[in-house]
Subunit: 185 residues, 2 copies
């Protein structure tokens, strides 16, 4: 796949790329059959092509397959979602309650994406004044995965209504990792 | 450009998309002639196709053209960069000093990208437990701009060695806006 001569991206390609931007989908409904492993592997591999501050590549992808961990994460979502609902005013509460905000019971493929707060790689370059740059790098990896997934006809559900520290605990991950997002596919 | 029938993204398109991921460039050298306004406008428009939490679209793009503001931002970079250099150990200091980390004197086009911390749009949906979701949405808009820019043969320089609050002050922006990044093109 690698080339040494910079490619030219023509108008036809740009037009389909724009269509990809338009048709990328955040989904909350999932088919029961799992995404083929070969496609998943390819998407995770492509995510590593994302930019990162100081080439730190601080993203950490964690597949979540264990049933009891999935249940704990679903319970955490339900707790956080109930609190968010309680914080809505009367007009908005009905609308909020009607939204499907996760698909944690159905989604056959689930993974967490974390950020190593102080990775050795990159030596902290470019992060002194805006330490969030690490998480921002991880977000570009997620977005790369998301766009590439759509080329396989796949949407992705980004679940953000979770207590990030609780998820790190449930998954027994290093304390230096910060949850960036939890995803259903 | 809009279609109502979901498009199919074939293997040929995916192959060029992967090439785009590989050839997206963070640049520190700039040609003296400005990027044509029609291309800039198109890129900013495309950035709005990025995903955002609760469809909040919290990104705010701010062109920086005023010479004294540019000077103030360059001075801020130099101060922050000197501090970052001072924080390097002996082995790394020489390497650090040799890096070109900005192009603030040469880049004909410069803009800040900010995040409205609590935008009305989206009603704060999905942001209660992870408020950083707003900035993460802005990062996907930046990444969309970046990928689309490459189809025009353009790299983008993300300058993160800046005091984010100082940049908000220099640009006289609302205090509820947070600097996500500063860019050279």
């Amino acid at each position: 796949m690698k080339q040494t001569v910079p490619p030219v991206f023509d108008d036809d390609f740009r037009s389909i790329l724009i269509s990809l931007f338009r048709w990328r989908r955040d989904v909350r409904s999932f088919l029961p059959m799992p995404v083929p492993q070969v496609i998943l592997d390819h998407l995770f591999e492509l995510a590593h092509l994302a930019p990162s501050v100081g080439l730190s590549q601080p993203w950490r992808f964690v597949m979540v397959e264990n049933a009891s961990r999935r249940s704990a994460i679903k319970a955490n979502f339900e707790k956080c979602n109930a609190m968010a609902l309680a914080g809505q005013n009367e007009t908005r509460a009905g609308i909020y309650a009607s939204l499907k905000l996760a698909g944690l019971s159905e989604a056959p493929c689930q993974f967490a994406v974390c950020t190593e707060a102080e990775p050795e790689q990159g030596h902290g370059l470019g992060c002194q004044t805006i330490p969030e740059m690490m998480s921002y790098s991880t977000v570009t990896a997620i977005h790369t995965f998301w766009l590439a997934a759509r080329t396989y006809g796949l949407g992705l559900g980004w679940v953000s209504i979770l207590d990030p520290e609780a998820v790190i605990d449930v998954l027994d991950l290093p304390k230096s990792w910060k949850l960036t997002g939890y995803f259903c596919l």
